[in-house]
């Protein structure tokens, strides 16, 4: 059995402002083994990015509040760690790739300088300047950028190249866990394929565990070992890639997600089946099942609090209807 790297237990996060309280994440639990890739899928506003930021403890100060729960990284609760120790973990043990490569590089520094800085911050091996430079070359080579371009500024690169640089920065210290927050959303499809291929190669080579946040099920199918479907701050369904993509029974929301993807083999010119309605207002979530107002199978029992139903040893879904059929 593989070793558990990250375990999130019953995590709840809310954003408090003067006017309202937004319940962004409401009691989610998942675990991630070493070298494994977990995909978190869900609509905009489902709380995916909030989950990622909470793991890194980068929630906006005073506004973002962790209500309850634990984030155990190698057995250590990150949420209880002093800020200084957390700072050492960021970038070294846990890295993050942000959505938009256009803005996640500092325009006034050369890319070589920015990668070197990431290395210098966690310079435990006390590398000299030359060794750092050599490592920068190596990392750039790894992501397929000629090291001769390390003296260039971000504006001299295209979007795909910039995302490669961002990946190089995130992987420079060979972290144990990489959180990729929609790493390909800002890129066009061909570049997206290249970047995903690169990420997969590097993940396999460096044995990095990865949390891939996306709303693109195609990306999940290519990259992930396990999938978690997030809706309104809850994980409505969790399972292996096969469980989610080829399993027979699903949470109605997951069904809805798959129903809204066009199918290549489907010749009948039927329309897509989008999920009706909108995400519930996160300041005022419905009681019981969060998906209730949009669910085609809604019934009285949905108004009660839902429990995770095990469909197989690896597959759970949070819907009472799945219980009946067992």
């Amino acid at each position: 059995m593989a070793e558990t790297l990250l375990e999130v237990k019953d995590l709840a996060v809310k954003y408090k402002t003067d006017l309202e309280t937004v319940f962004a994440v409401n009691g989610i639990s998942f675990s991630l083994n070493k070298g494994e890739t977990l995909g978190i899928v869900g609509e905009t506003g489902a709380g995916k990015t909030t989950t990622a930021l909470t793991i890194l403890r980068l929630l906006p100060e005073r506004v973002g509040v962790v209500g309850k729960g634990q984030v155990l990284f190698e057995g250590e609760d990150l949420l209880a760690l002093p800020e200084h120790d957390m700072m050492k973990k960021r970038g070294d043990k846990i890295s993050m790739i942000f959505q938009d490569p256009m803005t996640s590089l500092n325009p006034v520094h050369t890319i070589g300088g920015q990668i070197a800085e990431a290395l210098r911050l966690h310079n435990e091996k006390n590398r000299t300047r030359e060794q750092l430079e050599a490592r920068v070359d190596e990392v750039l080579e790894m992501v397929g950028i000629p090291p001769s371009r390390k003296g260039d500024y971000p504006h001299q690169f295209s979007g795909g190249m910039k995302q490669r640089v961002v990946i190089a920065m995130a992987l420079a210290c060979e972290p144990d866990l990489l959180i990729a927050d929609e790493p390909t959303t800002a890129l066009d499809v061909t570049i997206q394929a290249q970047v995903l291929l690169l990420m997969r190669e590097l993940r396999d080579r460096l044995q990095t565990a990865m949390i891939l946040i996306t709303h693109d099920l195609g990306v999940v199918a290519q990259m992930c070992d396990r999938v978690a479907v997030m809706y309104a701050g809850e994980l409505v369904e969790k399972g292996t890639l096969a469980d989610i993509f080829t399993g027979a029974r699903h949470h109605p929301y997951t069904q809805g997600l798959f129903g809204s993807i066009p199918k290549l083999e489907d010749e009948s010119k039927t329309l897509l089946h989008p999920i009706d309605g909108l995400m519930p207002d996160p300041t005022d979530l419905p009681e019981g099942c969060r998906f209730l107002p949009r669910c085609p199978h809604a019934c009285e029992k949905c108004k009660e609090k839902q429990e995770d139903i095990a469909l197989s040893p690896t597959h759970t879904a949070r819907c009472h209807m799945l219980e009946r059929k067992v």
Partner: protein, 297 residues
């Protein structure tokens, strides 16, 4: 684009680009007025630096009553003042004081106000509110009045004048830096830097400052001229540099007694002030256009 594409031997495309500073200098050079400002200011700074070689400080303050109130001549190109002192040498030595105070007060004000503004924008919330409201109170008092009060309280002398001017300038700088920092601090690369384990201090030093330094240089430069004018005003009011040390404002103040019979006495130090502040402003304008070409319409 001046960047030249060349193919290196390994087949990779490398860009041969002019360095940032060269590029800024190239844009700056195109601006004739700014170049004129730079030249005039350089001459004045050189004269101030080598004032002792042009005429010793002793000769600038030693009285020679026999030769008092002479018109400009080859011997005394600006003429002499009421005590027979050569006005040209006094202007040169006065420039030493005026320019030094101008630059020192601007740079010190930029540093104090800048650090305050950046920290308050970076940490935000209550701290930001406390700092900015305090500064609002300061900026409600007219600059010259505040400086006058401070000099009156601290006593005369170059250092005290600088302190007074710096304190009266801090709110303006803090506000400028705070505004530019707010524009940078929400950027993704700051978040990314934080996710990479960068400390707050490091983020401010390495990521925020380089992004706001352009407008700051321009503001600091422009500010030098108003600092020179303020120093002159203080001296004119008798609260600046104490006699017999010459200073442009003090020279005008001394000359006003003779304005009816020897108007040139007030003209030359006045010209010095006008030339210095005008050339600094032109230089600042040119710098702004050169540092941020987007601003130019």
């Amino acid at each position: 684009m001046e960047a030249m594409k060349s193919y290196a031997s390994d087949g990779a495309i490398t860009m041969k680009k002019p360095s940032q500073i060269k590029e800024i200098w190239r844009r700056f050079r195109k601006n004739k007025l700014a170049m004129a400002g730079l030249i005039v200011l350089s001459v004045m700074i050189l004269a101030a630096v080598f004032a002792e070689q042009i005429g010793t400080y002793q000769s600038a303050i030693a009285m020679d009553v026999k030769n008092k109130l002479q018109n400009p001549s080859w011997q005394h190109i600006f003429g002499t003042d009421g005590y027979g002192r050569d006005l040209f040498i006094r202007c040169v030595h006065g420039g030493r004081v005026s320019l030094f105070i101008g630059f020192a007060a601007s740079i010190a004000g930029m540093l104090c106000g800048g650090i305050l503004g950046m920290i308050s924008a970076y940490y935000g919330n209550k701290f930001d509110n406390a700092v900015m409201r305090t500064l609002d109170v300061f900026s409600a008092i007219p600059t010259i009045l505040l400086a006058l009060t401070l000099v009156a309280a601290l006593g005369q002398g170059i250092v005290n004048i600088i302190v007074a001017l710096v304190i009266s300038r801090i709110p303006a700088f803090a506000r400028i830096v705070r505004a530019s920092t707010l524009g940078v601090v929400d950027q993704d690369y700051i978040e990314a830097a934080r996710a990479g384990g960068t400390s707050d201090y490091h983020i401010m030093l390495k990521h925020i400052i380089p992004n706001i330094v352009g407008p700051l240089i321009v503001q600091t430069t422009m500010n030098v001229s108003s600092m020179i004018l303020q120093t002159a005003s203080l001296s004119f009011l008798g609260l600046g540099i104490s006699a017999p040390r010459p200073e442009w404002g003090a020279l005008i103040s001394e000359a006003k007694e003779y304005i009816r019979i020897k108007p040139f006495m007030i003209l030359f130090p006045g010209l010095c002030i006008i030339l210095a502040s005008a050339s600094i402003n032109l230089l600042g304008d040119g710098l702004r256009d050169a540092l941020d070409p987007r601003l130019k319409s």
